[in-house]
Symmetry: C2
Subunit: 608 residues, 2 copies
Amino acid sequence: CPSLMLREVASMYFTMVAAFLVILVVALQGSVPRGTDFPYKVPLDPQGLLELSWNVSYPEQAVHFQLLIRELRFGLLFGMSDRGEFENADLAVLWSDGHNSYFGDAWSDAKGQLHMDSQQDYQLLGARRAPEGLYLLFRRAFSTCDPKDYLIEDGTVHLIYGILEKPVRSLQAINISALHGGLQRVQLLKPNISIPQLPSDMKTMEITAPDVVIPSQETTYWCYMAELPEGFPKHHIIMYEPVVTAGNEGLVHHMEVFQCAAEFDSFPHYNGPCDSKMKPDRLNYCRHVLAAWAMGAQAFYYPEEAGLAFGGPGSSRYLRLEIHYHNPLVFKGRRDSSGIRLYYTATLRPYDAGIMELGLVYTPVMAIPPGEDSFILTGYCTDKCTQLALPTAGIRIFASQLHTHLAGRKVVTVLSRDGREQQVVNADTHYSPHFQEISMLKEVVAVFPGDELITTCTYNTEDRSRATVGGFGILEEMCVNYVHYYPQTQLELCKSAVDPGYLHRYFSLVNRFNDEEICMCPQVSVPQQFYSIPWNTFNRDVLKSLYSFAPISMHCNKSSAVRFPGEWEKQPLPSITERLRERVPRCPGSPEPHPAAPIPLDLGQLRR
Amino acid sequence: CPSLMLREVASMYFTMVAAFLVILVVALQGSVPRGTDFPYKVPLDPQGLLELSWNVSYPEQAVHFQLLIRELRFGLLFGMSDRGEFENADLAVLWSDGHNSYFGDAWSDAKGQLHMDSQQDYQLLGARRAPEGLYLLFRRAFSTCDPKDYLIEDGTVHLIYGILEKPVRSLQAINISALHGGLQRVQLLKPNISIPQLPSDMKTMEITAPDVVIPSQETTYWCYMAELPEGFPKHHIIMYEPVVTAGNEGLVHHMEVFQCAAEFDSFPHYNGPCDSKMKPDRLNYCRHVLAAWAMGAQAFYYPEEAGLAFGGPGSSRYLRLEIHYHNPLVFKGRRDSSGIRLYYTATLRPYDAGIMELGLVYTPVMAIPPGEDSFILTGYCTDKCTQLALPTAGIRIFASQLHTHLAGRKVVTVLSRDGREQQVVNADTHYSPHFQEISMLKEVVAVFPGDELITTCTYNTEDRSRATVGGFGILEEMCVNYVHYYPQTQLELCKSAVDPGYLHRYFSLVNRFNDEEICMCPQVSVPQQFYSIPWNTFNRDVLKSLYSFAPISMHCNKSSAVRFPGEWEKQPLPSITERLRERVPRCPGSPEPHPAAPIPLDLGQLRR
């Protein structure tokens, strides 16, 4: 069997599905984990030609990747970048010049030009042919100390991929803009949580959309109403997992199950797009999250002591399933019956789990000027509110779902005690509004009466020409962290907004400081006033100063409408006297000034 | 002759001035420069027991130090720190435990505790006994890449020294707070300028204070009036140098020669302290700097094409010499006849040199809130002014004297062209108001019509409880760069201040934003309005925003009272679209995590 080049492999494009086994001999740079050692899996492209599996080793502070390439042509790029762009990306590249194949750790500059890294941090561990395709195995430390490398952190990671359709002379010759490629968002650093014991009386319930024809458009939010049996008593949801129709793994982007409001006796049945004119308005009252899953996420487990109550008196029998289909290749006629499988028990656990909203009130008084690359808004859950509403023994936060609308770029919640920051509750510095899963926390966070929870959201409005105000609309903004905790308390909302009186002073100040006559009259709505501000540096700076100075209006609420008793207007801003230190990776030494050579892949031992 | 320990050396304290020669054999880590290779010299302590000589190698990017210790006890510390403090300092330490002696590169933490550096960057080159004392020779690179080390930059360097009076067990055992020590400010990185050719008809004139008895107090500014001969024609000063009475090198801190205003026919003779009630008021009209020297500075040379005009019609015959005596040990009865020696020629050079004031107008509208650790004020010389006032061929700036009052911490002037920063004219990031010399620039800076000169001063008001306004008083502030240039133009002042109308809007804004009723009435003076502001974060932030946004009032003046024709009020702030990159030192690798061992000094070869 003679030496077989990647080019020839490509010529066998349509026969490659047939079973033949190729063993690629490559320089091994570490132990090769077995295929079963990759518990997490996600399709990279909508067709499912590239499939990524991985595991996370916290002792080694490294991720092991297994990339399945179903139809290899002349190579591929795989990597990570800040927000999924191909510029300034950190890439593992497999490429063929038509004769020989190479693997290397590379980076792309601001113009998309590829360069070999001086330090090779995507360590190739092996390559293996299987009937389904070529498996590439490689390892990457979270932090490499190579300034050109991506730092793998908690939260969202934007994975990018590109397929080489032609041979290339060298890495530098790859034209990144002409690549067929895309991005996939995942939480790479899955928490290392032991799975709680499940009771023997556990039952399952599938909330799935029956036989949906996925619309042939890029984005669809599908709504389906489900119903619990009449007289269904109180149970505890103790786990849930996705049910994805085989073959649609690349299309089902995320799914959520909402419980409807108890004040309505019935909800209409509906099965159709969420934005359809035919959708009954009453479905808007189904907003209480019971379960949420996003691509790449696994099963969600409640802690052993707690479960999420559903059923029983005082709760609605109606559930709304929402599925986001992402169909960029506009496949037609694909049928889908995906959804979420709930695992529940009648043997109630010691504690009901609860969900609390932290962050900003949905109000236009919190606004972001246009043209900002990273504008920060902060929402507070004050000591006064936790003092009043939390039990002496405190609560335990075990999961968190971060939420903003389209301009959101980062979300961080920090726990502060006596003005000193204690720990990060949840942080996503590569947050995307298109990837909102409920993340189990690595560490359960205990919150006691008198603690403060400070949620900071960073927004990008560079593409907008007028101010973005807070609100429910998709082009308005939110800054929310839905924290999942136990034992459940009456506190459902612990959020803030700037005092409206101070905002009014800001508007009249802007009025005085600008020579143009702009009507900032009080009879004009807050959004209209924001829209009419001429956004010079002074007006921007002063708005920032206002938000970090003015007293706040607190929503310390039992439900969205019912406040705890007390004075919640014109509250002082929590002050921080001691910040958490940023963790700076310790680096053994700075990299060599010249780039390393790629690793040639010996493809000479191909066997059918 | 047996081995002689430092302890025994100490016991011979009073006999050490007698001639004996000690040769210390130490590990040589480089070539040892000869004693004559140290052109710069400064006494460290007022008694002159420690004398530092040094040279600067720009090719090696290193300074070679020669430290003369006249009376060695149990060792000494020598080093550098941000502003002369003993905490967070970078130190070379020679110490004895009573038996053995050691040399090491160390650092002190925020509590003053000493630690060995992991990287030894004060490289000991040799040690030599001479009749006058012990010479230590060592080398230090400007930038070491050790994060605990001081970065040697252009501008002021605060040298510190401490004398060990007792043996110490180890470096860590040194109690830095109990040391007898002090600080000395110098410009370490002297520019590497070739000395211009001097004409054969050069004459000298000494402006010296005759036989002053230095007052026995820490600080004295001495004023002495001198007079040019009647009918003295126009000459060019082409060089000047200090004349310091032998023995007073540690006391004469800095000296300036001012020319008096031409509008007065005569000035009274005076020889006494500048702050005396007996000092005639008219001496305040002698403010035009002819020459300025500070400790550690050498001779000042004008460029070959230019000289500073003095004498002749239209200029005053009267000169004021001001000497700052720094006498912290309160010596009594010391006599001094120091001053400045001017070198001048009747053969006028092609160009008259001129002095131009850049920065801020002396006005209270530019103010610094109290309690700020680094508040920035910026003064502009706009394109409109240089367009009008500079010749088409431009001017050449060859020297600069930075000036603030007591709160000044940094001063930087940058040249900008078409909104893009071109080069730093002069920068002192460790600026001290107590060390103001005229520095020759490393590179002559060409300024053309339409260029902008932006001067930024950073102030510290942490020790103040009320606002610091701009003005002439020592507790008011200035932000000035006196640039020396040729050919002389009519432009004497190119400075700015915020538009007073915008400042007034700020005051009324503060009024509206604070619930307390404070009178910010227009009939109250600007300083009084600043003094009555309640300094919360909002009022501070908005003042910063105001200064970086509001239009400016330009002083584009022929003299302090006469403006160039044109509209100079409500001018737009120059905008910068491209900043100069900060030079980040390239580091070969990060240091070892564990500290290095000190170098033992072999003192076994002592000979009388």
